[in-house]
Assembly symmetry: C2
Homo-oligomer: 558 residues x 2
């Protein structure tokens, strides 16, 4: 143990991946640091890695073991990858949650949905208002991003000022919400900044960031030229884009209808929080069916190809009384997140089959990113002039490149992936401890660890199919009758033309009676023997070794 | 029936998707057309859609039913999505296979690997050499693409000339292989072209295509600046790129070593076919370990993130004596195919963790596409001036956009997705029949239909996990003992803290004895009753309804 106070930073999610942001700061003597948590985000599962899983949550075992030392939870903004896990994690953290008004509406809903008290969420005014949290003084500094009221956190500690950028971009005219205020950041930099923990998602985008305010013109022209119905999709949470789209529709003589629950919820929350004051009047889906298609614009959810969202529903057929047809225009005012390409293409192809003209940002200037590109990251570094840059929110390659950038500009930088505890208070930042962090899967109502083997087992089932065998062993340790076999996810017929299950049953009927008593006695040995027969038969009949589950029923002497 | 002769075109794969190219042309009276097949390609499965499947093959039931009418099979080039299914499909087609020399090496191997006679493959000289195939006269017109000896097919029929573009780009200096020869295509256009069946993959790329010959300069500069080992990856079949990379390495004082079986096979085939004459001397992986890393360049497989390829192996650790480290350079001289982004990022992140500098075509000009971009498609249209454009090789959105382009330029165009039989000989092209075509999955050694339910079943297992229940019903139709339960892919412990399998067993022990005799008598009813108990218990304990397999063992009176 060491009596010296230290300032630590520990990412539990979001560093080494995009999404699932969750970071910890601590100050105090080693092992007795007082802690604050920044963001409690989720990541979204896919069939390739987490089949059947509903949500991916940060593994907070380390934090939960130290829950008594947590002063507060801060949420930078209302994106799911920053707030989505709050309801699931809060019962293990039990600390007050601080965020700004619009974010609070979402944070409260997260608590309510999981049966907790929304009053744990406290609304904070922006910089220069201060939240005192143990040794930390925290201020919410407005930044521009793709959702209202995004904030960087200015975290004052006895070891100096840390700026946690959160997700941000530099946009001086963001259409909705606060512009990026360089004066404010110069003010923050006064007196020196020890470290910036900085968004890295767009480090590989080399051109300067573009402003939301550049979009109305090209989008307006596109709509003006449309003959049939116009449909536009973007992220539901991108309230500024919703406004850009709706305004462009109205300016071109179209009535606006929002489709998709998430979208309506976001607009309502933005109005409620006072960040959206002049959104055009919208029609209900039913009212909208009365409008001639050349005067209608739908703004819909599902820009990432989500199967249950409005875009997918419209691509499949009629949805809430609306059906697309030849001559309609469908605008993807969005960027496809890596991994979602196939889902987005599925929708675009289905729309193309209907004769709908699809336009996305490869065809023109219809989208701007919400994250800082490389030149804008440099601009933030230049504004804050920190001693240390610790990149966060990015895959490893993003973090490494961001450190390379920081070093090239004479700052100190360090790559800290999830679980790397960095001391920020020494002479140079260094990793002082590696915490084992995995991920937690919400699967139905169960929370399971990524390394528990459950999901690996499911993937094996998907790759190999399964053969189930039931055996009865009687009171004298004789195998009674023949084994029963069932298949799932395997072809019914083998190469020799026979019924595969029946062939396995026949092989077992040949083999099992010849097994020695000590094999039949022993569940493990008997299972192995059965498994071997099943796999050999399958290998020769279908060229595949399936998973095998053996159920041995041992009859008891009565 | 109709006695009139007609010319038909029928895509069985590749139209409505990228990959799995397989097209049929026919000429004769309806139902008695003589047929030729162009390409027999595969597509690659993914976890998201076809877990456990080895390859996706075209569904050729329609063709196989008419095998006696097939005059010949033509292979345009040696990419897997054009030749990969040959060995699997040939036994049902049994027609001579025509292709050029380099392609033939691969086609013969495909036949050999599946136990067939490679002598079915006949090597054809390029245009103006002619293959007579029933009513068709076919010539191989060299085009530039990303593999040597790619060819368009000039197909003369009694109804006029059809040009099947195959995969192509317009490159006047392709480094290896034949440049695109505009004079040749003007010659082909003399006398008129009835229809062009035309590559559509890059219809949405609006800039002009770029030449392979533009790459040596930027790649050379990149290598010149590298301090450690240089590794470059690209498609193994892109022989020109292999040469570009190797030449750039040698020019900068590096010895070359190829890693990955496919790559060595491609270079060997290219040398054997005489299309590659001056490839630099390469070292074996073992010899290469003797070379100082600053003088070595590895050219490796796995540019698409394939888990078993050399790139992935190097990202994980040491491979054949080579290990990457801080200061090495890894060049992706490739484009990531949609759907492969996550796999590629996985490798890049693992390399970044080793401190390797990763460079891809977002960082500079290190790759050119092998397909014609929109301006180059227009150039081909302009050269050939066909009456009809039928887009192929593309998803539906590509085909639709390509038709839109053709119409805008005064040609006739028609979208024909897999299964759409188009008559090319009438006044205007039209779809005359819809053939039911699915896909065939090679799964182990079994061929299964995409709609057989086997794969859907596997996906359900992956999403939901499975509970297996074994029951014994005795001679008097009484349920004997308690049911046995096993879980796969599900959490072992439920919300109430108990063992999930045991809880299901207990629920069944409560419920089953109370079932009426007529339920116990009937396998289906008994299974339903068991399934209901299992699902209800799981829903309340883990919030999930699993797949359920019930094995009922009915003891016979002896």
């Amino acid at each position: 143990m060491n009596d010296r106070n230290r300032l630590i930073y520990l990412p539990l999610g979001g560093a080494g991946e995009i999404g699932m942001n969750c970071y910890v700061y601590g100050y105090g003597t080693q092992g007795a640091e007082r802690l604050i948590v920044v963001d409690t985000g989720v990541a979204f599962p896919d069939m390739d890695g987490q089949p059947g899983v509903d949500l991916i949550l940060p593994d907070i075992d380390w934090l939960a073991d130290r829950a008594d030392r947590i002063e507060a939870i801060f949420i930078t903004h209302a994106h799911e990858d920053h707030v989505g896990a709050l309801g699931h994690l809060w019962p293990r953290l039990k600390a007050p949650v601080y965020c700004r008004r619009f974010t609070a509406i979402h944070a409260m809903r997260k608590l309510e949905e999981t049966g907790q008290d929304p009053a744990e969420v406290r609304v904070v005014e922006p910089y220069p208002a201060v939240v005192e949290a143990g040794p930390f003084r925290v201020q919410f500094a407005p930044v521009s991003h793709s959702i209202p009221e995004s904030s960087a956190l200015v975290i004052d500690t006895p070891e100096g000022r840390v700026v946690h950028s959160g997700d941000f971009k530099i946009d001086h005219e963001p259409v909705v919400g606060e512009p990026f205020d360089e004066e404010l950041f110069r003010d923050i930099a006064n007196g020196g900044v020890r470290a910036v923990i900085c968004d890295s998602t767009n480090i590989f985008s080399r051109h300067e960031g573009r402003s939301e305010s550049q979009l109305p013109d090209p989008i307006g022209k596109l709509i003006a030229g449309a003959k049939g119905m116009v449909v536009a999709t973007t992220f539901a949470s991108n309230v500024a884009r919703l406004k850009t789209l709706a305004d462009a529709g109205v300016a071109n003589g179209r009535s606006i209808c929002l489709l998709g629950r998430a979208m309506k919820r976001m607009v309502t929350a933005a109005v409620e929080a006072g960040v959206l004051t002049d959104f055009p009047r919208t029609l209900s889906p039913e009212e909208a069916t009365e409008i001639p298609r050349e005067n209608l614009m739908l703004i819909v959810t599902g820009s990432q190809g989500e199967r249950r969202a409005a875009s997918a529903a419209l691509s499949r057929g009629s949805y809430l009384g609306h059906e697309l047809k030849e001559g309609d225009l469908f605008l993807f005012s969005s960027k496809t997140i890596p991994g979602n390409e196939v889902g987005v293409a599925r929708i675009q192809n289905a729309l193309a089959e209907k004769g709908v003209l699809i336009v996305d940002d490869t065809a023109g200037f219809y989208h701007v990113s919400g994250h800082a590109n490389r030149p804008d990251l440099e601009a933030l570094h230049d504004l804050l002039r920190p001693q240390i840059v610790v990149p966060n929110h990015g895959e490893y390659r993003h973090l490494a490149e961001h450190v390379r950038l920081a070093l090239s500009k004479g700052m100190t930088g360090i790559v800290a992936a999830n679980g790397s505890m960095v001391e920020l208070s020494g002479n140079a930042p260094q990793v002082v401890e590696h915490i084992e962090v995995g991920k937690t899967y919400l699967d139905g109502s169960a929370l399971i660890g990524a390394f528990d083997g459950v999901i690996r087992d499911r993937m094996k089932l998907a790759l190999n199919g399964i053969v189930v065998v039931a055996l009865i062993v009687d009171e004298e340790d004789e195998i009674l009758e023949d084994a029963w076999v069932a298949l799932r996810g395997l072809p019914e017929v083998g190469a020799t033309g026979g019924d595969l299950a029946q062939m396995i049953e026949e092989e077992l009927a040949q083999t099992l009676p010849r097994l020695p008593a000590k094999t039949i006695d022993d569940d493990d040995k008997l299972e192995d023997a059965v498994r071997r027969v099943v796999r050999e038969t399958c290998m020769s009949e279908i060229g595949k070794k399936p998973e095998v589950t053996v159920l041995i029923s041992r009859l008891m002497a009565e």
